[in-house]
């Protein structure tokens, strides 16, 4: 390497340094601190009983039935809501892409739910499904006295619905970005080649959108895995509808057991990491297809 290249590289690092330091201060430090806390007995109700306890907090969490129930709830909610969002989002993206007139209006109106604060949206849906005051029970085919939040899976369905309603626009927007990169000429070619509309979708659109779909799924799965607001507002975790984030919140904020709560947080972080690695691997595995020499 020449001197000039070396000094340019050093300048590059120097210019990046402030951003890198800021990033580390707001990510690495809290994660590291949570990890340190998770290895100690720190309970604000008993401030005098402290000290290093190794992985005791982790074994306490992992041996509790509550953690596993909550983990199941979280995965269940994530998988179902993200799957529905993917299908709906794809449909909306196709409509937004094809919209000939009023493109701007269509795109804006589709995005409105995403612009509403989650807590507000959760309250709105909770009122809508409330047995006495909500409008949902007034609809035909639905029992007037159905107690949506009184039972685990009906509560789940309302939670999933609210999540889907709110975040599908985000999914649709990410998919739309992928859709616009596909050359229209390919569809003309496929038409001449004899492909029906469905075949054009499955054989041209879907394979070419694979990277965009994976990115959208990654973002939404990570997001869905950390579900908190909607459940907190609607059921507060009752009827076994608690998610892992709510578990962490309860340990940390309600019970003031910082050690145990931090252990839960670190475990959530590890889950998120695993999900991210799986998706990034999936993305990476695709690269050689387009760029093989």
């Amino acid at each position: 390497m020449t001197d000039r290249a070396r000094s340019e590289r050093r300048l590059g690092w120097l210019l990046c340094a402030p951003a890198a330091v800021a990033m580390l201060a707001v990510t690495a430090y809290p994660i590291g601190y949570a990890f340190v806390l998770s290895l100690q007995r720190v309970d604000l109700r008993f401030p005098e009983e402290g000290g290093f306890v190794g992985f005791d907090n982790y074994s306490a969490v992992l041996s509790s039935e509550l953690w596993w129930t909550d983990l199941f709830n979280t995965i269940f909610l994530s998988v179902i809501s993200v799957s529905i969002e993917l299908c709906l989002g794809m449909a909306i993206a196709l409509v937004m892409h094809r919209a000939i007139f009023g493109r701007g209006v269509v795109r804006t109106s589709v995005l409105i739910p995403y612009g509403i604060v989650t807590v507000v949206a959760a309250f709105s849906w909770q009122f809508a499904f409330a047995p006495d005051t909500g409008f949902v029970n007034q609809l035909p085919l639905i029992a007037d006295d159905k107690d949506w939040f009184g039972e685990r899976f009906s509560a789940f369905s309302v939670i999933i619905m609210a999540e889907v309603w709110k975040t599908t626009p985000f999914m649709a927007l990410l998919l739309l970005a992928g859709l616009t990169t596909i050359d229209d000429g390919l569809y003309s070619a496929a038409k001449v080649d004899g492909a029906s509309a469905w075949q054009r979708f499955t054989r041209i659109t879907l394979p070419l959108m694979k990277p965009a779909i994976l990115v959208a799924l990654l973002f939404r799965t990570l997001d869905a895995f950390r579900i908190f607001d909607t459940i907190f507002i609607m059921t507060g975790g009752a009827q076994d509808t608690q998610s892992v984030s709510i578990l962490g919140y309860q340990q940390l904020i309600s019970r003031l057991n910082l050690g145990l709560g931090s252990a839960v947080s670190v475990l959530i972080f590890l889950c998120v990491l695993v999900i991210a690695v799986i998706f990034v691997k999936g993305l990476g595995a695709r690269q050689p297809e387009s760029g093989r020499a």
């Binding site: 390919l186 070619a189 038409k191 001449v192 080649d193 492909a195 041209i204 387009s290 020499a293």
Partner: protein
């Protein structure tokens, strides 16, 4: 194999714009037909209507004797080659070429056989398992051709298939396309804006301008016998020179010389003495007077001050001034004929193609000879060619 007949085909858009106006064209079975014209002339729209990618607003389209107006592209049995090739980036060359057959549920063994056969013809065998992104421009172009020929369709439709290639490759592929079409004998409609491609490739060439078909003829006929100013100016490179002329008796006064009119031209202009016309002379019908032998036939010599000389090695282009008092009238007629849509429409300058031995020098006066028999005359109002 089939003929394609366009009967009063019209394309009208929602805003009333007519891209193609009542086009009549008969493409014979096995013929290589070129649609040529400047951008926006409606040639691609016409091709897309034949392909079924655009609806036909009015008129009747027949392929192989069947009216196909309302048929989807896939039911017309045509294959198309696109300007940007439109290869499927996620499929290998093999899959790209076999895609149409696969959709038609042809037996996989049969697909493999046909794809390999086409690959052999196009020299693509070693690239069959690569993806389009890893191919050169020329190879992609051949894959696009291959995708069309494996289907053995009734007709090939090609939309500027060579315009994304560099100049050298374009010339090479031009020859290959011509040979391929000749060997397969499949009816082909080929759209281009490049008159050189049109002249070298086609059995016949259809010249279009602003949605209207101007002339359909063999390349030779188009060159020697254009029907109007537009075709005369569009076909040929460098393009034909246009000058203002005034008929007097059986002579015509041009800005640089007075030429006798042939009997045929006398008949064309009638006996209207003093009639104003536009005269067209191709650059190669000038010559350096010193180099003209007796073999070139009757001509007139005159002196011109050379403004610019371009040497191409095998030939030499000399530019001289037409005289500004005539320019306005010619420019007006030329713009009415749509010649300003063409590049380099400097009506002020006349270009003469001379033999490389010519002593033409910039800024010097040169004695030039012009072939009096090759003069073409046009009506300055309509741009139509004047014929007997």
């Amino acid at each position: 194999m089939a003929d394609i007949v366009l009967d009063h085909i019209t394309k009208k858009y929602g805003d009333g714009y007519e891209a193609v106006k009542s086009m009549d064209l008969e493409i014979k079975d096995g013929e290589f037909m070129i649609l040529v014209g400047p951008s926006g002339c409606g040639k691609s729209t016409a091709l897309n209507m034949i392909a079924g990618l655009e609806d036909i607003s009015d008129g009747e389209l027949t392929i192989g004797g069947e009216v196909v107006n309302s048929r989807a592209p896939k039911d017309r049995d045509i294959a198309m080659v696109f300007q940007n090739y439109a290869l499927y980036p996620h499929m290998t060359v093999r899959e790209n070429m076999g895609f149409a057959l696969k959709l038609a549920k042809v037996d996989q063994k049969e697909i493999d056989r046909k794809v390999e056969e086409a690959a052999e013809t196009l020299d693509l065998t070693e690239h069959l398992d690569r993806r389009p992104a890893n191919l050169s421009g020329g190879q992609r172009q051949r894959v696009a051709m291959g995708r069309a020929i494996v289907r053995e369709p009734k007709a090939f439709l090609m939309d500027e298939p060579l315009s994304n290639l560099d100049a050298k490759l374009r010339v090479q592929m031009r020859t290959e396309v011509a040979e391929l079409q000749d060997r397969l004998g499949t009816t082909t409609v080929y759209v281009t804006h490049d008159q050189t491609e049109a002249m070298t490739l086609g059995d016949r060439v259809a010249v279009m301008r602003s949605g209207i078909l101007q002339q359909v003829d063999t390349p030779g006929e188009l060159y020697n016998d254009p029907v109007n100013l537009f075709v005369a100016g569009f076909i040929g490179s460098p393009s034909m020179n246009f000058v203002h002329g005034k008929v007097s008796g059986n002579e015509i006064e041009l800005p640089f010389a007075t030429l006798p009119l042939t009997d045929e031209l006398c008949g064309a202009v009638g006996d209207s003495d003093g009639r104003e016309v536009i005269a067209g002379i191709r650059p190669e019908h000038f010559e350096d007077a010193e180099l003209v032998g007796d073999h070139l036939g009757a001509g007139v010599t005159f002196e011109a001050k050379i403004d610019l000389v371009e040497s191409m090695g095998s030939e030499l282009y000399a530019y001289f001034d037409a005289g500004s008092d005539h320019v306005d009238k010619v420019e007006q007629a030329a713009s009415e004929a749509g010649l300003d849509e063409l590049a380099g429409g400097d009506t002020n300058q006349i270009v003469a193609r001379l033999a490389p031995e010519s002593k033409a020098h910039r800024g010097e006066t040169l004695k030039l000879w012009v072939d009096q028999d090759r003069l073409l005359l046009f009506d300055p109002e309509t741009g139509e060619r004047l014929r007997a």
